[in-house]
Amino acid sequence: MTSKILIRNLYKIYNEEKENQFFALKDINIEINNGEIVIIKGVSGSGKSTLLALIGALSKPSRGDILVENQNIAKLPDIFSSQYRNEEVGFIFQSFNLIDGLSVYDNVKAPLVLKNIKQSELSEKVEEALKLANISHKSEQMVSNLSGGEKQRCAIARALVHAPSVILADEPTANLDRDNSLLFLEILKKFKELNKTVIVATHDVIFDNLTVADKYINIQDGVVL
């Protein structure tokens, strides 16, 4: 399943109605169609990561709506927004956000442990995701022993394991060398083949003029240009 995302009059204000009030996002209106690859560009502190966190229901907007398949995720209580993240969203973070001390396999299976599925089915899904991210050969390794590129692939496998319709990638190449960054672009093509809706927040020039990208959104000071 893929999701159409509609963002209307979205605001994120920190310290609202206080002296140090700060507008992280101001009146954002975006429409993202199913299966599109969207690149959100902007310098550090422009609000692109905040926008990604709001689309992923990691954070609540101050005002406005985020409709994913006509469901307003901005207004969902925790239990449903968590369910939305667990079923519809896969995150790839700049710092990978893997759990140190666990193996690649255990990190990748984490989103599935909330589902009441058989052990064999769980293993099958994890193996499939590991294969898709080309990290099967490291499945028993501790993530702390992996290189940056391998950690990235482990994070990708974790983002894919529960077959989400939306992939959110926040500065996915910031901690990668050029070769691994190029590899990530190849993975974007794979996402496209899988008909995933992908939103990448980045300031890396490597994402400029990509043929695989359907839309570019530029953000500056919390406003879409």
Partner: protein, 366 residues
Amino acid sequence: MVNKNFIDFSVVLLVKDKKEYLFSFFIFTFIVFLASSVLFISDSLKHDLHLALEKQHQIIVTNTKAGKPALLSTEHVDSILQITGVDNVIGKVDGYYNFSQDRRYFHIVVDDSLDNNSMIISSEIKSILKKFHYNDEFNFLTENGIISLKITKVMDSNIISNDVVLVNTDVARKILDMYEDEYSYLDVSVPNNNEVDFIALKIVDLYPSLKVKTKNDQQSDYEHIYYYKGGIFMILYIVSMISFFILLKNQISSVFGEKKREIAILRSIGFAIKDIIHLKFIQNSIVALCSYFLGLFLAYTFVFIFDAPLLKNIFLGNDFNHITFTPSLDIRTLFLLFIFTVIPFLASILLPAWKIATEDMSEVVK
């Protein structure tokens, strides 16, 4: 509803952080061990004392002369027997023999199943006599000469029997230098429990110099024996409490720092606040329950199998070296211990975990 995969994953995370949890595990086990050892010892002592009390009649009568203990006579027995409501009065021979070589008193108690040449002693007395090379027999030195008795049996020492020497009535009279018509105390039997206090008053009316103790009075006396130990109890409990607060502080701080990031990661992949609480509950329940039952097991072994070395001396002093604690478990006490240790232990991790899980995670996982 928590599924098996979730429980497995919780255990995987627990094993990952085993070093941090081991600290909590050991401290918690120590606290449960210390607290339950104290409880086991006091329960065991109370159990033995109450058991001894149950075997006694409703009223015990002793005599005083010029405010000091004195013997009773057959006349006392006959007079008390005349009081309406008294079923029987038995004169008992009982007293203390001064073993001056070791500055110890032996409690001479009557057992008429023994013959004139034999005695039964406690293991504590046995060890004292052994020090003075009395192995199979012992000579009581009295004003009327030496009474030599064979040791036919050694019984376990407990709080009652620790200093006891059992001999028959005739031998006891000789050792204690008592005549045929003299008694150490009287055991008064009253069939109707409601009349016990009334009859006790009547006995005092009859003989103002007599001391009359009902079963209830004796029970209070036994409980008073342990009141002076209150300070020791207090110190042990304070040690437990301080350790427990250290443990709670460790628990709370363990949720912050790296654990906060871990919670944020789990939240980002779809764990709801309730899932985080479940996860922490499972992990800490495993630690708390394992610690609790290990602490109980160690305390049980320490008190009832090894007879609580060190702690025994704190409780009973140095005169009770060979005492055996009768196994006695008060489920209500163990339940209270569970409530006052396991519940705060779980709360100390669940509350901060809940607080962190409700925070905005987007900044933490950036």
